[in-house]
Point group: D2
Chain length 411, copies 4
């Protein structure tokens, strides 16, 4: 495609999602009018596709200078990247399927802008800032982190006394994780799997690794598509929840024997590894919806395989002792690497939180460490979202508030 | 029924649930062997039915002297009450359908034992201790509270500086509220409604007041039974969750026009009141699953009604301007007042928490105020439960723990 | 209870369901006005509970003389039976828990009226007419049959050339089996199981024997209540449907090892027998929703058991080699023998078909053999039902009818 | 793409689905060995994508000469078409997005082979044979028809006395319509809608036009994805089913006001037309899953629109009085025109029926008219499918068969 065609395609995609992100649109309008980010430099490492572009636009319109790169080599959409580069005050360095060197070089380029605010999805920028670019730390007001995995990493840093900047845990906003991680991952993972395989979900045994919010969403939609769902967990309480939700629960070593399709959502390594590949059925399909491509141990799988070949776009077949094991999107997050990522409406809420938290960082002196999203921002996002959906809910009447605050009425 | 028949019937009911409460059974065996409650006096106000009896037995076998009464006039099962009174070290004062005076008199009798530990479901004992029986406060090591409503009341007291004893918020244990409030209330409310009405749930418009854990459970089961569900909320985030779960969300004033069956689960007053009764359809059915009978304003309904009559056991028909409005179980919690309460398996987890928290109070010097259930107790209950269900789950391998604790691996 | 109390209780029950059977109510009003059954004598053997009573009343008000008995010893509700006997032109002989002799004696008494029309649920009257009471055959205009099992039996008779009267297969009306067998059995079976056991369905492995309309309904509701469902079948197409609906499918010999609760819905014998009891888990619960109590082989179970005792109302525990196997309602249909039967709204449709078919038999000279319900009656019931629910649907416009009847428009 | 690349891509796609069509694979092996189609000429008009190619290969390997073209201008995948043309005894004339003239010219080319057997999806070949190519009718042994719409058209012809050849209604095999129409259309429609829009289904109001098997499948999956579903129908019985399945049911004129996404599945014209467009909400999304592109009246929509533009691949936005109405895939079947069609596993069953029915036509002298698929073929497909899924089911024991055939056992 020519650059002109890429721009047109990117613009069209961005336009489409923008019209389905009403909360972010309101914030963008406010930003444009009020210029709360005037003079700020924002470095971003996020999945560069249309919804992200809508966030980038809003930040730039709010007065900021923005530089962005990808947070996963396979999730960048080049048309969106090229289109972003046509905007004022925006520089995008992301490229689809770039090699590891290019990937980290792009991160460095983004940081070369000397940002005072960062937005991460997986903490790659912050990690780079704390290792090779420590010179930039002093200039930082704070960062936002988008994903469970990133928060986990940042809290580990904080526990080790290694975190030298304030970070807002955007992922932990209720209007983020309850929706994006659950309904977003739930739908987009299966969208990715269905379009990539053209196989029937109904009547399949689906194994979901992990029953956090992403795993809950993936399981809910697997059931909704007619699958027989098995869940694996390490947390006994989540394991009980999975069972009470009607799923079978067992160890992965056991589940590996039964699964037709596997989806990992844990944020941990080696959820599927040698001992599991050994007992899988011929034709098993493996997909990952976790942030990093570490959940399926492809090194071990490759070592076991007598041959590897592409059998459909985004599907690699590993021949292991006569069995075919099919890996989608090289174990990268299947919803982004083999799809268009989360639906626009959930990213509307997630990125509304991002935009509001960037403003919050710009306006607030935060201590180093991991901070929650202020509850009133969270509620504001929810209220705008409801309004955009045309939904009116009840308000407490004074005597109801009084009852809830009182304690003297009993049986 | 003769006393002998009552005892036999009560014993049979207790025996049945005991064999379906494996976690509590393990704890009971440990208690019997280790006598951790030796010398303690436990005052209880809980729904006196078979599962509660199993808890009472465990506490008494653990060495305690126990006195118990009901926490709702319509939830007592007399056979269970009579059977409990045949046990050593147990005194039960609960009576079905007692009047308000008898109800509070029984609470006083229970307190007359001079307890050092209390167990409440709705905080009635603690309220009495803080008003009329303040002389007993000094002897108290602490109390346990079973329900969301009670916790709410106690936190209101704490905020007012009025709480003069330590209380463990058993309701807030994950192995309690995620299961009891959701799957327990979900099933038992509909069990109560179905057996009381013999009407079809499928194809009905069901309005659920509130989308907390109880409301989520009631909605989930309503959908599972084929209903078209409308949810009302005051919290915008919960309202969004309800919508994303496929339900319609609107104000109660609007929902009141459409509902065939209404179930309130909010813990607040006047969820259904005059303005709602006015617009309801002929034949509407009203049930409450919240702790107190304040959610449906029966005073207003009675004032509006030209006549009230019983049309089936536990169903009162109010004739309002030619429309029939049917109230189940006088607006008392429908699962207990018109059924047998939560399934034994969820009460197994809830009451395992109660038993462990009583021991915890007996062994620990707690400050005045509301305390969480220690996480290790919560996990212990989950682990025993999984084991009793024959479910084995994964354990983290060392390199997985290391990965989760580290932060240096990225994309 | 005194007879007066019984009558009052029965009248109340009948009144309640009558107000929830709007289609039958319209037919009753028409019958009362038009007297289409004037001079006819109708013998009935149906489950004598409130919904059936509403049908009996409609027939009597339509001019008929009606005699009725039960079609299952455990499904009669005595208060309804007594109340029916207070009506003009109605004689009811059914008694709860009567012995086999009484049961057949009552059938004979009903036939003593020399009916010209019969209504059966399971074909017991017709079987008696073709064996011991063949003298009455010549006086018969025809009969109606309510249930799959009865139709099956009658078609077997027809195939053998043994059927000597016309019978209308009311069960096979779409407004009957699609609703009564599916949504009716689905809900009422689980209502019966839940109220009888007070156990949690969520997280249980439920085994459904058969995936006909009753089995589909029972499975749908089991899933809806949070169970993990296994289906057994002998028909490969139904087995595939069950699998595509997300259930596991296997032989009963295999399923018997995993089930916590078993529900049989096949209409055949020995769905659960010795070889299954042998491998069941301790605590397994067995319920039957099929017409006859032949699906669970209690003779074999009794022979295997070292002891049998009642452990809760309507639950017998068989001790088999140290395992407890719990049988609900002695293997009689659990929704009627341990509950109130199908919800009123589905029986409204089933019994509207019955009433209309009785009229059809009265007005039409039918050949001996099994006849379908005329399609226009079926549609009439559906239309009245929709209307009673306040639902308006689309009508074909003339050019749409034309399109559907044409064949000349293509791609 | 070069032809070599197209062939490679097509071969890869065909290889993938072939390995997921185990029943067709067994039939292909039998065909290859037994050559049942030796000397036969088969003309086909089907959606030319990978699953169809697998059928074409099986027929050619069975000895037939095969010519094929598309049955919808937007459902052809050119790589598959080119790859098919590399096979012996196969000629493929289909081209993606061809104009109407090319479309009908290709149909003529296919018929030029002088077939003795036809396979249609929508009856286009048969219609052409009965209008412009009647000379070929005498040479025909019979045809197979794949879809509800085609059967409808053929029965209309039969009723008019216009059908001059035998046709087997493959659509009406239970192993076809219960699976392909329900689970196939259900999944693939939503796959198409999700990948085309990248919008969230959860929390949307989805309107399904029609509640036949396709509509049931589309509704089931919409609910499973978290939508709030409204169904429109003209048949009162289906309308009641939809309501009992928990959906709202109303006229399309009413539903048009509420829908966020509309999916038509009726086989009729003008399901969505001017009066509906007028009341739709801004942003409404319209998709068709019915066979022909007549269900959404695009002519009326175009006439009402002030502008039409492409806003995303396969999405046209019609600006109607300031509202944006988005039409997917120009109202062509969304699962094929904006996706890869049904999952391989359901087409395995549908096309196994096709292959077996072609053989049946080749071996059987059929009368002119529409014939059912012989029941034993249907059962054979089901049995092979179960076997391929590793599922074993129960067999009737002799005494169970006897019971089912007998009629002398009663209560």
């Amino acid at each position: 495609m020519s650059d002109k065609d890429l721009i047109e395609s990117g613009d069209m995609k961005i336009g489409w999602v923008r019209s389905h992100m009403p909360v972010l649109s309101i914030i963008r309008e406010n930003f444009e009018r009020e210029q709360p980010l005037k003079g700020h430099k924002i470095a971003m490492a996020l999945h560069v596709e249309a919804k992200t572009a809508a966030l980038v636009e809003a930040l730039a319109l709010g007065g900021a200078e923005v530089a962005i790169t990808g947070c996963n080599p396979l999730s960048t959409q080049d048309d969106v990247s090229v289109a972003l580069n046509t905007r004022d005050n925006i520089k995008c360095y992301a490229k689809y399927d770039c090699c590891s060197d290019e990937y980290y070089e792009a991160i460095n380029k983004v940081l070369d802008m000397k940002p005072d605010i960062t937005i991460d999805d997986g903490a790659d920028l912050i990690f780079k800032l704390h290792t090779e670019r420590t010179d930039l730390l002093s200039g930082l007001l704070g960062g936002c982190e988008e994903t469970t995995t990133g928060i986990h990493r940042l809290k580990a840093m904080e526990n080790d006394g290694a975190l030298k900047m304030p970070v807002v845990a955007v992922n932990d906003a209720m209007t983020k994780f309850l929706f994006d991680n659950r309904y977003g991952t739930g739908q987009s993972s299966w969208d990715g799997i269905m379009r990539t395989t053209n196989l029937l979900v109904a009547g399949k045994t689906v194994v979901i690794g992990g029953y956090g919010w992403c795993g809950k969403g993936a399981s809910l939609r697997a059931s909704g598509l007619g699958a027989d769902v098995i869940v694996t967990e390490i947390d006994p309480i989540r394991a009980l929840e999975a069972r009470m939700d009607g799923h079978r629960v067992m160890s992965m070593t056991e589940a590996a024997k039964y699964g037709d399709i596997f989806v990992t959502t844990t944020g941990n390594v080696d959820i599927l590894s040698k001992k599991h590949f050994e007992v899988m059925k011929d034709g098993a399909i493996l997909a990952n919806s976790g942030h990093f491509n570490v959940e399926i141990n492809l090194e071990e799988l490759t070592a076991m395989a007598s041959s590897v070949r592409t059998v459909r776009k985004n599907i690699k077949e590993y021949n292991v002792a006569g069995k075919r094991i099919n890996v989608l999107a090289d174990g990268r997050l299947v919803n982004l690497a083999a799809g268009d990522g989360h639906p626009a409406e959930v990213m509307d809420m997630s990125f509304a939180n991002q935009a509001l938290c960037v403003k919050y960082i710009a306006e607030t002196k935060l201590e180093n460490g991991v901070h929650p999203v202020p509850h009133d921002l969270d509620m504001y996002v929810a209220e705008l979202k409801l309004k955009s959906m045309g939904i009116e809910i009840d308000k407490l009447e004074p005597h109801q508030t009084e009852y809830m605050e009182g304690w003297e009425c009993g049986t």
